[in-house]
C-alpha cells in the first residue's frame, strides 16, 4: 500500500477531475496490477480497467498521446452538449428559460458602500464647498504648469509637449533641479491653478503628480503604457487649439468623485464643439485610461473617431490633502497592498469605481 501511496502522490498536476473520484478503487487496482507495463497494454483497447489515470503512465510520449486524445474527447463532448442545449432552446421557443448570465469579475464584485448617490445632500454639500468649488462656480479658469523630474530624456520631453497641446492654457517648463516645495509658492503667486509633474525612470515616464494649487489635493499616479503620437496607429492630424470636451467614465465612489473633479478642473469650462475634440478619462477597475480623439458624426447614430494625441494609463497611488508634501502631509487615501491575500487583491480593484 505504500507503493500505491507513492504512485497516487505522483499523479500531481495532471490530475484528471474525472479520475479523481475513483481514487480508492485506483489503489485497489494498483495492488492488483502490480507492474506498470500491464497498464500500457490496455491502452490499445478502448476499454480501460477502472481506476486508470493518464498521469500514471511513465512513458512521456504515451502519456502525452493519451492526454491529447482525452482532451479531444472532452472537446467533442462539450460541443455535443452545447448543440443539444441549443436544440432544446429552439424546440422550446418562447418557453425556454432565460440564458444564464456569465460570471465576470465585475459581476462578482462586492458593492462598494462609498458609491455616491446623486441625491445625497451631505456629499453634495461637501463637493460644493471643497477646494474645486471655485473652478466649478466659474470663478477661476485653469492655468496649468507641466514639468518633469530632473534631467528628463526624450520620451518624457515629447510627452510633455504633446500634453501641453492637449490641455489648453498649459505651459511646459524645464525642471532645472528645483524643489517642488519651492516651485509651488511661486506658481501660486503667478496664478497657476494646477501643477503636473511627470516622473521619469530609465528614460520612460512612469509617474504623474497632479497638484491643485492654492491648497488643493495632490494625487500621485503610476503611469504606464505611454504611447506618443507617432506610435499611435491610424491617427489623425495634430490637435488644434480648440478647447476639448471631457468624458469622465465610471468615477462613482467618493474617492472616484474627488479624482474625477481633479481631472475636470484641468480643462476650461467651455468646450468648443467646433473643434470636435474630446479627452476621455475612463476608469475601469481602478485603472484610468486617458485617450484623446477627434470625432465626426456621419449620421444621427454613427460616429467616426480618430485618435490623436498621446495615450496613457494611470493608477492612483495616493491622494494627499494639501499641496505636495510627501513627508509631512496628511493623506486622504493611500494605496495599500496586502501581498498575500487574493481577496484583498480583488477588493482593491473597487476603490474608485
Amino acid at each position: 500500500m505504500a507503493k500505491a501511496g507513492a504512485k497516487s502522490g505522483g499523479s500531481g498536476n495532471k490530475g484528471l477531475k474525472r479520475k479523481a473520484a475513483t481514487e480508492e478503487p485506483q489503489e485497489a487496482a494498483v495492488a492488483e496490477d502490480g507492474t506498470t507495463e500491464s497498464r500500457v497494454q490496455p491502452s490499445k483497447a478502448a476499454a480501460f480497467p477502472p481506476g486508470f489515470s493518464v498521469s500514471e503512465i511513465k512513458n512521456k510520449q504515451r502519456r502525452h498521446l493519451m492526454f491529447t486524445r482525452w482532451k479531444q474527447q472532452q472537446r467533442k463532448e462539450k460541443l455535443a452538449a452545447k448543440k443539444k442545449l441549443k436544440k432544446e432552446r429552439e424546440a422550446l421557443g418562447d418557453k425556454a428559460p432565460p440564458k444564464p448570465i456569465p460570471k465576470t469579475i465585475d459581476n462578482q464584485r462586492v458593492y462598494d458602500e462609498t458609491t455616491v448617490d446623486p441625491n445625497d445632500e451631505e456629499v453634495a454639500y461637501d463637493e460644493a464647498t471643497d477646494e474645486f468649488a471655485s473652478y466649478f462656480n466659474r470663478q477661476t479658469s485653469p492655468k496649468i504648469l507641466i514639468t518633469t523630474s530632473d534631467r528628463p530624456h526624450g520620451r518624457t520631453v515629447r510627452l510633455c509637449e504633446q500634453l501641453s497641446t492637449v490641455i489648453p492654457n498649459s505651459h511646459v517648463y524645464y525642471r532645472r533641479g528645483l524643489a517642488l516645495k519651492k516651485i509651488i509658492p511661486q506658481c501660486i503667486s503667478r496664478d497657476f491653478t494646477d501643477l503636473i509633474v511627470i516622473n521619469e525612470d530609465r528614460k520612460i515616464p512612469n509617474g504623474l503628480i497632479l497638484s491643485h494649487l492654492p491648497n488643493g489635493p495632490t494625487a500621485h499616479f503610476k503611469m504606464s503604457s505611454v504611447r506618443l503620437r507617432k506610435e499611435i496607429k491610424r491617427r489623425g492630424k495634430d490637435p488644434t487649439e480648440h478647447i476639448p470636451e471631457i468624458i469622465l467614465n465610471n468615477f462613482t465612489t467618493r474617492l472616484g468623485h474627488s479624482v474625477g473633479r481633479m481631472f475636470a478642473s484641468l480643462f476650461p469650462h467651455n468646450p468648443q464643439f467646433i473643434g470636435r475634440q474630446v479627452a476621455t478619462f475612463h476608469n475601469q477597475r481602478d485603472y484610468i485610461f486617458f485617450r484623446f480623439h477627434r470625432y465626426i458624426f456621419k449620421s444621427e447614430k454613427k460616429v467616426g473617431i480618430q485618435e490623436l494625441g498621446p495615450r496613457f494609463t494611470l493608477k492612483l497611488r495616493s491622494l494627499q490633502k494639501g499641496t505636495f508634501d510627501s513627508k509631512y502631509g496628511e493623506y486622504e487615501w493611500v494605496h495599500k497592498v496586502c501581498a498575500y491575500s487574493l481577496k484583498s487583491h480583488l477588493d482593491n480593484f473597487k476603490r474608485m469605481e
Binding site: 458602500e113 445625497d120 461637501d126 496628511e330 493623506y331
Partner: protein, 385 residues
C-alpha cells in the same frame, strides 16, 4: 431625528462640514446632527469633549470660535458660547467644576465660567502657552492640570489653580549624532493613569514618555514608529501601551515598558485624525480623512469589528465609555415615538390628510428607514438626518 435613540449611540464623531454624527454600532445606524440644520464648513468640528454630568452632554468646538453644547438625551444642540480670542481652531477642550477650558492654535488658553448665557463673558483665566499648539489635554485624574504641546512648542504642564508658570516644562533631547538640534512637534499628549507621567507622540514619528516626578526634564523613554508623522494617540485599557496612528493610516500599539512595537492594525486608508480606546473593553475607535469610522478589537482576537462609512472627512471622535453596549430593552418602539416628536410634524400630517400623499423629506424618511435598516444587515448604512 431619533432623539431618544441618540443616548444609545456608542461613538460621536465630528466632521469637517460641521456635522456631529452619532453612530450606534449595535443597530448599525449613524445619525447626523447639525446646530443650524444645514452643514456649514465654518462650523467644522475641531474638538469634542464630554460635558458635565456623565456622558449626557457633549461640548463641540467649532472652527468659528464657538463652543456648542449638545445634549445626548435630547439629541439636539442646546446652546452655544462664543469663546473668542486668539486665532486658529480649537486644539483642546476640557471641562472642570463648571468651568470650560479652551486652547486655540495660537497658544491662548482660557478658562471660562460655564454659564448658559449666550453672551460671552470675560475669561476667568488666560494663559499664553506659546504659538503653534497642536494639543491640549486635561488630566482625567486631576482635572485642574492640563498639558499643552505643539510644533516647536515643548510640552508644558499647567496647574490652573496655581501660578501662571507651568508646573513642568519639558526639555528637548540632546543633539543627534550630527550634532544638530532635534526639532520638536508634539502632536498628541496623554496622561498615564496612576502616576504623573505623560506620553506624547510627535510629528517626527517618535513616542516619548515624560516623568515630572523625576528630576530629569528630558524624556524618560523614546520609541519611534514608521516614517510618517504620528497624528493621534490613545491609551489602552491596562495602561501599559499606547496606540498611535500616522498620516498614512497605519495604527500601531507600542509598549511603554520596553518601548517596542507590539502590533499593527490594518484597515485605514487615510490620515488618522481621532483615536480612542474604551476604558475597559478591548475596543478601539478610529476615524480619519478617508471618511470611515472603524472599530477594531485589540485583543483576542485582533481585528476589525465595525466599519461605518460616514460621508464627510472626520476630525475627532468620542467613544462612549459605558459598559453595557446594548440598548435598554424597553426602548419605546417607533409608533410610540411619533407623539413625542415635534408637534409641527403632527400638524403637518394633519394638514396633509386631505391633500395628496406627500412624503416629508427628512424626518419621516428617517423614521421609516430606521425600521428597515434594522433588517438590512449588509450595509452599515449612514443616513441623512
Amino acid at each position: 431625528m431619533a432623539a431618544a435613540a441618540a443616548r444609545w449611540n456608542h461613538v460621536w464623531v465630528g466632521t469637517d462640514t460641521g456635522i456631529l454624527k452619532g453612530v450606534n454600532l449595535q443597530r448599525k445606524q449613524a445619525a447626523n446632527f447639525t446646530p443650524s440644520g444645514q452643514p456649514r464648513r465654518e462650523e467644522a468640528v475641531s474638538a469634542l469633549c464630554w460635558g458635565a454630568g456623565g456622558e449626557t452632554q457633549i461640548l463641540v468646538g467649532c472652527a468659528d470660535g464657538t463652543v456648542k453644547n449638545f445634549s445626548t438625551e435630547e439629541g439636539r444642540f442646546q446652546g452655544q458660547r462664543h469663546c473668542s480670542g486668539g486665532e486658529g481652531i480649537f486644539r483642546g477642550l476640557a471641562q472642570v467644576d463648571g468651568t470650560l477650558i479652551t486652547c486655540v492654535d495660537s497658544g491662548i488658553l482660557r478658562v471660562w465660567h460655564d454659564n448658559d448665557k449666550e453672551a460671552s463673558s470675560d475669561p476667568l483665566l488666560e494663559l499664553r502657552v506659546g504659538p503653534g499648539v497642536c494639543r491640549m489635554r486635561q488630566d482625567p485624574a486631576r482635572p485642574h492640570m492640563v498639558a499643552t504641546g505643539g510644533k516647536e512648542n515643548a510640552l508644558k504642564v499647567w496647574d490652573l489653580q496655581g501660578s501662571e508658570e507651568p508646573v513642568f516644562r519639558a526639555k528637548n533631547v540632546r543633539n543627534d549624532w550630527l550634532d544638530l538640534r532635534v526639532p520638536i512637534w508634539d502632536q498628541d499628549i496623554q496622561f498615564l493613569p496612576e502616576s504623573q507621567k505623560l506620553v506624547t507622540c510627535t510629528g517626527y514619528h517618535q513616542v516619548r514618555v515624560y516623568d515630572p516626578a523625576s528630576p530629569q526634564r528630558r524624556p524618560v523613554l523614546e520609541a519611534t514608529y514608521g516614517e510618517y508623522p504620528l497624528t493621534a494617540m490613545t491609551l489602552t485599557p491596562g495602561g501599559n501601551s499606547v496606540i498611535v496612528g500616522n498620516t498614512h493610516g497605519q495604527l500601531a500599539e507600542i509598549d511603554l515598558r520596553q518601548g517596542r512595537l507590539l502590533v499593527c492594525l490594518k484597515g485605514l486608508a487615510g490620515s488618522v485624525r481621532g483615536l480612542q480606546c474604551h476604558p475597559s473593553k478591548p475596543l478601539l475607535a478610529s476615524c480619519g480623512l478617508d471618511r470611515v469610522l472603524r472599530v477594531h478589537r485589540i485583543r483576542n482576537p485582533r481585528g476589525l469589528d465595525h466599519k461605518v462609512y460616514l460621508k464627510s472627512q472626520l476630525n475627532c471622535l468620542l467613544l462612549s465609555g459605558r459598559d453595557n453596549w446594548e440598548d435598554e430593552p424597553h426602548e419605546p418602539q417607533e409608533p410610540n415615538k411619533v407623539p413625542s416628536e415635534d408637534t409641527e410634524t403632527d400638524e403637518l400630517w394633519a394638514s396633509l390628510e386631505a391633500a395628496a400623499k406627500r412624503k416629508l423629506p427628512d424626518l419621516e424618511q428617517s423614521q421609516g428607514a430606521l425600521q428597515t435598516r434594522q433588517r438590512k444587515k449588509k450595509r452599515p448604512g449612514s443616513t441623512s438626518s
